[in-house]
Amino acid sequence: MTQLDGRGIVEVSDGGVSVELKGETMTLNIGPQHPSTHGVLRLVAEVDGERIAKLEPAIGYMHRGKEKLAEVRTYAQITALINRIDWVSGFANEVAFIRAVEQLMGVEPAPRAQMIRLILTELTRISNHLVFASSYPLELGAFTPLMWAFREREHIMDVIESATGGRFHPNFNRVGGVKPAAGGGKTQKKVSLDLPAGFYAAVENAMDRAELACDELDDLVTGNEMIQMRAKGVGIISYDDVIAYGISGPNARASGVPTDLRKLETGLLPYEGIDFDVITRENGDAFDRYLVRILEIRESIKIVRQAIGSVPDGPLQAKVPRVLKVPPGSIYVRAENPKGEMGYYIVSQGGRIPYRVKIRSASFSNISILSKVAVGQLIPDLVATMGSLDFVLGDVDR
């Protein structure tokens, strides 16, 4: 038996010669500059031919220090900053934070504001899932759904802009409600920022268009045999893995874990009066994650249609002092971000500035499963899996 200088073993015997070569794996850096990693994610992969032997995500390229910045900003300023964590679903980022501050202060938000918050959150959920539903086929090679879904998304963005002034970063939540007026002055007129005329009609129109987009995507993508070939059976996450790795949102629901914080965390937003289903699937592969999100768009459309009909009248913000001081204490509040569970742990020592804000973002836990799920897959399957997890680097790195 001879060694081929570490590269293999040669055995010579009476029956013949057998050579066994030890292959080497190639280290491939996927990213950080890459068209399909949703941002600057670097995956250090050891590939054997096309099969992945080991995968390690290297994150931190987009760290903007939001938690550190929050230590020197007042609560209203922090609201402006955290809009930008998960930049695809702008409004949904603020909800958990503001509810946490309200619960610390013991302020009950105005009912009209709660309903408006609910409508805007569901609109951003539809918008986020439309982005996913269009960029996921793009990674698999279908170029058209992207343009169609973004076309329908423009209507939702216009609606949000007409109400709040911003398309992606509305910065509309205030403690006790939503932004009531521009200018809180004792002189001159206050320009109320209540819903503009034509809002309900515009929302109805946007919902009709979103439903049209869903139907088109169903025909073009969901029923397409090639997408099914690429996505079925790929990147299976088991029920236990979901619980062990802390995966949340549609990714968890696609593996059979029926957690939806809209139903579990009662009291955040008025979901009790609204009738909707929690969508779960059994298999936990990429196709199921895709399907769960498409069906969730339809559920959100149902929710918005019910909510528009039941917005109560009243003030937009509860009575809170002008200079906001939060009593000492700490609280953790989590809400259902479109990408998963987003939570804020606020420690306050009295005063206008919090002592510490810890952000639990959904995508950070969601991509931790990659190093387990990707082993043994081919590189195109890795892309299909990554895309189906629907993460955004701003959410991962904060």
Binding site: L140, A142, L220, R230, L378
Partner: protein, 341 residues
């Protein structure tokens, strides 16, 4: 042809330049068509401003843009192979135009072994792709090149076998003979002879298989894994820039035109249209052929912008498990029917 008192070499060069120029023109039109049709499928407008209405000069502007880009050869690259690869690939696709008949007596060279020559020469582009992938000195390009090589070799067979069935039905390998065979009447209704292109007279399986195989040969969606932008940046073309990149770009579209020309000639009847006499076809033939080429090109573009891409092991399964048995069955059926009728 008026005989000029010029040496043969000069005449040949002139013919070559005219052919290259015409081909470039057709390729630019095809690029414009792809940009416009893909834009309208996606609810956008596409080229609009360049050259006035509808941006017809857009591909020309793109060609000029590529010419003035920096010419990079990476340090790690194998210099000579790197420089040679695009031209090998382009040569493979251009050389197929020699045998395509444009009119009843207008063809660059009517070879007796037309189909054989066509297939042999179009496999040169496989070599060009492998050379590009290997010599770039980049892991992504290597993976892309090897993938492309495997895909192109696997889909050569269905291509060849589909054409064998056509040769059996026509009784000849020469392309003008095949078009003439499609022009001869199959049966008579009353006193008029009905002649059908091969796609309608028994070669429908071959047509479908050939379209699929040519999509794979051209590295177009749904088989464009080698140049899958969302995975490997640009696959085997990653390290190319400027004029060489435009050679690959042109080569892809020239290949599209040449494959479309082959399909039109072999399955759809080429320059021949029912009811037109041969003299009329001398003038109208090129337009008929170009019309059929545009139709096939439209099919290619339509498929590209609708469907995603399939993984390469699924691709290989498709080729070996489905297409090859289908084409073998096609040959046997054609031969049987030819003998029986």
């Amino acid at each position: 042809m008026i005989a000029f008192a010029v040496p043969f070499a000069l005449w040949l060069t002139a013919k070559l330049l005219v052919a290259l120029g015409l081909m470039l023109g057709v390729v630019l039109v095809v690029i414009w068509m792809e940009l416009k049709w893909s834009a309208h499928i996606q609810s956008r407008v596409g080229p609009w401003y360049v050259g006035g209405r509808w941006g017809w000069a857009h591909p020309l502007a793109e060609a000029l843009k590529f010419l003035q880009k920096e010419d990079l050869v990476p340090d790690d690259a194998d210099d000579k192979v790197f420089r040679l690869a695009p031209y090998v690939m382009l040569a493979g696709t251009i050389a197929t135009f020699v045998v395509i008949p444009i009119g009843p007596s207008v063809v660059a060279r009517d070879l007796d072994i037309g189909i054989f020559y066509l297939l042999a020469v179009s496999s040169l582009s496989t070599l060009g792709v492998l050379m590009a992938g290997w010599s770039s000195g980049n892991k992504y390009s290597l993976i892309g090149g090897i993938r492309a090589g495997a895909q192109l070799i696997a889909y050569e067979l269905p291509l060849v076998l589909a054409l064998v069935a056509v040769a059996v039905q026509a009784g000849t390998l020469s392309l003008t003979g095949i078009v003439a065979a499609q022009a001869t009447p199959l049966f008579h209704i009353g006193s008029t002879g009905i002649s059908l292109p091969f796609v309608l007279s028994g070669q429908i399986i071959g047509f479908v298989v050939f379209i699929i195989a040519s999509l794979a040969e051209l590295n177009r969606t749904p088989f464009d894994l080698p140049m899958a932008e969302s995975e490997l940046t640009m696959g085997y073309v990653t390290e190319y820039s400027g004029l060489r990149f435009s050679m690959f770009f042109l080569g892809e579209y020239a290949g599209m035109v040449s494959m479309a020309a082959v399909v039109s000639t072999v399955y759809l009847g080429g320059y021949w249209l029912p009811g037109l006499s041969n003299d009329l076809l001398d003038w109208l033939g090129p337009f008929v052929l170009v019309g059929k080429i545009f139709f096939i090109v439209f099919l290619f573009i339509w498929f590209r912008w609708t469907w995603p891409r399939i993984r390469e092991d699924q691709l290989q399964q498709l080729a070996w498990k489905w297409l090859i048995p289908l084409t073998l069955f096609n040959i046997v059926a054609t031969a049987t029917l030819k003998v029986v009728f």
